[in-house]
Amino acid sequence: MPFDLAFAWSILPDLLRGAIVTAEATFGGMALAMLGGLLLALGRRIGPPPVAGFVRGYISLVRNTPLLVQLYFIFYVLPLAGLSFNALGTGIVTLGLHYSAFLAEVYRAGIDAVPHGQWEAAQALSLSRRDTWRDIILPQAIRPMVPVFGNFLIGMFKDTPLLATITIPEMFGAAEQIAGDTYRYNEPYTLVGLIFLLISYPAALGVRGLERRFGVH
């Protein structure tokens, strides 16, 4: 199985163009998931019972079913509901919805870890509920979450190849396209694997650094 360096070099620009879409999907999905996760965590904690029950069911269903099937579901079903995004928008929404269920648990753990005295002190100072959450609880809760968010960001990055299945031209999709056009599988898939490794391994080392800095352990 020869590895043709010249061919690999020639397809690199296409793959890197795909990598930009990969980055857009990853960061877009993460931003949505961080917001969605916070809303879910708050909905479960301070929402009225029906909301809290719905949130619990949603989190459990989303966490225990495959991202790929959720992607198909949203890609094919949203248009039936009259909502259509382009493929990349659908991909970002799905990644965001999927990971928000996981991040909700992260927020929950972070909020639970804030010492009880902080709530009592805020009450003693007559802070409103809103101010207590915004100025006292969340700032302390979020600090130990930072490395966990980092891990989920890397996880989401490694899930982006699934987006190729709904025609999003991210990096893996670009490799599939090249492989389909040229019948050369070795170079495109090897390069994609290498690019993933070159990004995710240093990122994982970075997260370990964050754990040392922000970790509570």
């Binding site: 269903l61 225990n64 991202l67 099937v69 198909y72 094919y76 899930d159 893996f172 090897t190 490794l197």
Partner: protein
């Protein structure tokens, strides 16, 4: 609606049996590889450590789908021709063995050093200490993590539909083409995956409760 949902089920359940097969076989492969890989990473011999660490970081650092495609398209170029089922089992089994080995490594590292020292004082060999003193304690710590890893694996088996294996997701796709009813089909597929995950989720909670039961003892109790 009800009648047609019943029509969809037999096809999907046939796919679900393939999903369960792949989950069980890849899970067994991952568990079998996890201990040797973890021991290699913790070995006093640096070449073993380098091999173990490279194995784990490469498998965790590249995407599972990329690895499946790699096996599916590139092994045949090397003259190794596997059916989609063994390819799927090998691909997911190898990928998950990296995560499983980290669970094993963490659990072994979490066992108190005093256990090793006491065994040494009793003239147990290192191998005997590992097999009879350390692992039995570490396994209790590993089990809940393994159960949640198996849920991850169950969900990841959806990827094998992309290398033409007719699992639950693949059956869903085939039904979309023949019935044109994405909402009912994908909704049912999601529900079936969820139901398949329930025993694992239950096991994970039970094992977690058991592994952390000592924390619930009242203060001062022995």
């Amino acid at each position: 609606m009800t009648a047609s949902v019943v029509d969809l089920l037999p096809n999907l359940l046939r796919g679900a049996t393939v999903t369960v097969e792949v989950t069980v076989a890849a899970g067994a492969l991952a568990l079998a590889l996890s201990l040797p890989v973890a021991l290699a990473r913790m070995s006093p011999a640096w070449p073993l450590r380098v091999i173990g660490t490279t194995y784990v970081e490469v498998l965790r650092g590249t995407s599972a789908l990329v690895q499946l495609f790699y096996l599916f398209f590139i092994l045949p170029l090397l003259g190794i021709r596997l059916d989609p089922l063994p390819t799927a089992i090998a691909g997911l089994g190898l990928n998950f063995s990296a995560y499983a080995s980290e669970i094993v490594r963490g659990a072994i590292a979490g066992i108190d050093r005093g256990q090793w020292e006491a065994a040494h004082a009793l003239h147990l060999s290192r191998a005997a200490t590992l097999a009879r003193i350390v692992l039995p304690q570490a396994v209790a710590v590993m089990l809940p993590s393994f159960a949640s890893l198996m849920i991850q694996l169950l969900k990841s088996t959806a990827l094998v539909s992309l290398i033409t294996l007719s699992d639950l997701t693949f059956s869903g796709q085939a039904l979309i083409t023949t019935t044109g009813r994405p909402f009912a089909v994908w909704g049912l597929v999601l529900v079936i995956y969820y139901v398949l995950s329930l025993p694992l989720a239950w096991a994970s909670n039970r094992l977690e409760a058991r592994a952390t039961a000592y924390r619930a003892r009242p203060a001062g109790a022995i």
